[in-house]
Symmetry: C2
Subunit: 481 residues, 2 copies
Amino acid sequence: CSLTEKQTNGSSPNIIILLMDDMGWGDLGVLGQPSKETPNLDAMAAQGILLTNFYTANPLCSPSRAALLTGRLPVRNGFYTTNAHARNAYTPQEIVGGISKDEILLPEMLKKNGYISKIVGKWHLGHRPQYLPLEHGFDEWFGSPNCHFGPYNIMCFPHLTQLYILFEGMDFIRRQTEAKQPFFLYWAADATHSPVYASKNFLGKSQRGRYGDAVMELDYSIGQILSLLQNLGIEENTFVFFTSDNGAALMSGPQESGSNGPFLCGKETTFEGGMREPAIAWWPGHIKGGAVSLQPANVMDLFTTSLAVAGISPPDDRMLDGLDLTPVLLNGSHQLDNRPIFFYRGNEMMAVRLGQYKAHYWTWSNSLEELKDGINFCPGQEVPGVTTHDQKEHTLQPLIFHLGRDPGEKYPLSVLSKEYQEVLCSVSAVVRQHQKTLVPGMPQLNMCDLAVMNWSPPGCEKLGKCLKPPTSAPWKCNWPH
Amino acid sequence: CSLTEKQTNGSSPNIIILLMDDMGWGDLGVLGQPSKETPNLDAMAAQGILLTNFYTANPLCSPSRAALLTGRLPVRNGFYTTNAHARNAYTPQEIVGGISKDEILLPEMLKKNGYISKIVGKWHLGHRPQYLPLEHGFDEWFGSPNCHFGPYNIMCFPHLTQLYILFEGMDFIRRQTEAKQPFFLYWAADATHSPVYASKNFLGKSQRGRYGDAVMELDYSIGQILSLLQNLGIEENTFVFFTSDNGAALMSGPQESGSNGPFLCGKETTFEGGMREPAIAWWPGHIKGGAVSLQPANVMDLFTTSLAVAGISPPDDRMLDGLDLTPVLLNGSHQLDNRPIFFYRGNEMMAVRLGQYKAHYWTWSNSLEELKDGINFCPGQEVPGVTTHDQKEHTLQPLIFHLGRDPGEKYPLSVLSKEYQEVLCSVSAVVRQHQKTLVPGMPQLNMCDLAVMNWSPPGCEKLGKCLKPPTSAPWKCNWPH
Ligand SMILES: [Ca+2]
Ligand SMILES: [Ca+2]
């Protein structure tokens, strides 16, 4: 509040990415959550632009986050597995791999224009020393490499932690502002990941149970952050983007997971419920308030768009999947409407969206064996031939949906229709081009080894809890879905 | 526009009910329709109050409309059938019955304070002479008794008609305003009922196909009506309520039906998708803009609330199901939070909502036979033990859902939980009280007869299309679901 002089030199606006964990498209009031418990996010949308066709790059934490920070599909940046066909993979404690040194992360790029970067919250790009945030361009880090697992079997964030997550973010903003230092804050709160949690002030406050309490606290926290920017007078010099890393984790049940609104299935699947995310861009004085964009966009665009905002050219020595959205966000341009969005599991392209159409080349929810064990990625939903329990190939005749008429992916176009034939023609050309030029990165999520677990975390000596790692005995990780 | 003097005497504010046909909760941008194509309704919500827990009285046109205009459940006002257990019924051309002379309709009550009333659009409370609108308190009528059927097999509204529906409504508003005459406009557009239609200017404009075109035109029309009120300077003297008569008709497919958002199933069912409706109250200067109310409410409240707005005491010689919502709408009162909402099929109470809980005493989507014929009220949705295809009784142990945590009705509470036992206790008391005092009206929708069809509609002589009615041969109507 001491700074009244507005920092609007414009050459290096601050950048804040607010990334939620497993929050669903339908969890925001402005996107139809019936209890309407997100007044701050709804206000953020009213002051900014709401993107209703925004996607993640993968329906799971680690690959989604790797894609956001590299601007590249997981199949390119290495955050995938080839152990079995079309499997989701992430970074449990026993994972050997992590984000490669060959990848260039957003904070590394931003350094070129003198940005200071901080990650607050969940990293999830590998926990071995060489993979940690400070090795990949971040200057500060508060949080943990993974979450919800570990040799000590503790949650990485205890019940008070959302307060720390908020404090650490706000403190960073305050310090950099005082130092007149352009900054990048990657604020990756994980309160909505099962086991969900909220601080005492929010417990029991929601109509939606504990999950809703967590959403309410995150909404409150984001309101605090935006207010701080305004109080510091830097709101017109700070580009803020809100989104989530994947769809709501429906398999966790109603107390522990959110809503994907009208969309099919959830986390772990390449249906809309797994991939479509809430998304709001906010930048007073630059982005017109109350706008809605139907632009198909994704988390990889945040890499490219952030660089554009910072006035930095993207790396030219590699293929990027992200596009610069500033023409869309700042000027309402429709030039990018026909860019494709790809949906992967592992190194298999499961589906592609082009314009309003989405073509599924492979369908799979999860296996019948898992389903029998009570794991269900599509509870209460069953679309014959679509939410298949075997890996069903449609490459010769993809299932095509019109997402405007049928956002729930329930009614595939008739293959005999003219519409189908025309769409197939244009989609096929895009897919051929994509696959022809695709060079997969080295898969980082193939190998597991108990020896790489964090047996001796910092401070373990004092607690007498340092453990001796077992002998290395790597195996191919088992990725069941 | 000629009237600049504001009419705000307050004793007899105008009343406008905008009733949509088969429009779903999820069709409004402000309620999460991904294409966000309802700018006027979204603005209406921003200037008024959005009720996210608003219900119809029955998941079908006729009983819903009868309930709205009488303030009474269909089982009381006669708009139901006893031909078979728990069946939905309406007024096809061959129906013998209609709205009883013993019922008091809203326009009849409003006459007491000198209101002039007009219905524009769909009536659906019986087409025989004694059942028509002008016999039941309306002073003007533009529209048709039924829709989409008839001996001539014409749609009741041709493609141009939404323009007439709009014109007739606006013309009425203008005329009454000029005459300084308090008015009630019941604007019952049916463009979103299959076969959906839109005027030329809107065809092909939506991302959502023809259904979306119809929604866009209705949204435009409502914007025109609200603008007219403002231009006439009567917006602070006109109470406007927007809602729909039942959930989206999912069985009609993606081109011909809308979205029920995150809710289960649709039209014809007593799940949330069939019963929960979009609802907005708008009254500048009286209702605080941008408010959201979680008040459980329903169309029958519109009868009682309209009377309260008009300063008229409700009839005291009969049981009313509607409550006066003005404390909720005008003052944000929470006193009515624990009022029950009943869900019927025929004369069977299928379910009841109390607070956040909904207890199903009977479940039924539709029969397996219908399902095999391709009729599906829950396409793509199948919740074991909930969306049952036989009429499943749970009266001894109702299925109970917490609609805040689980708006999609997928996770019944465990009957062993303390929560279940406590809820059952309070719900049972409410149900006992309801059933003990319930006196069913004479069922109007039991008998059909080809002789009552409209064989000689007005003007048939000129066209040479008058037909001779067959001999009367009544039968018990067959209501399949
Ligand atoms: Ca996640
Ligand atoms: Ca209807």
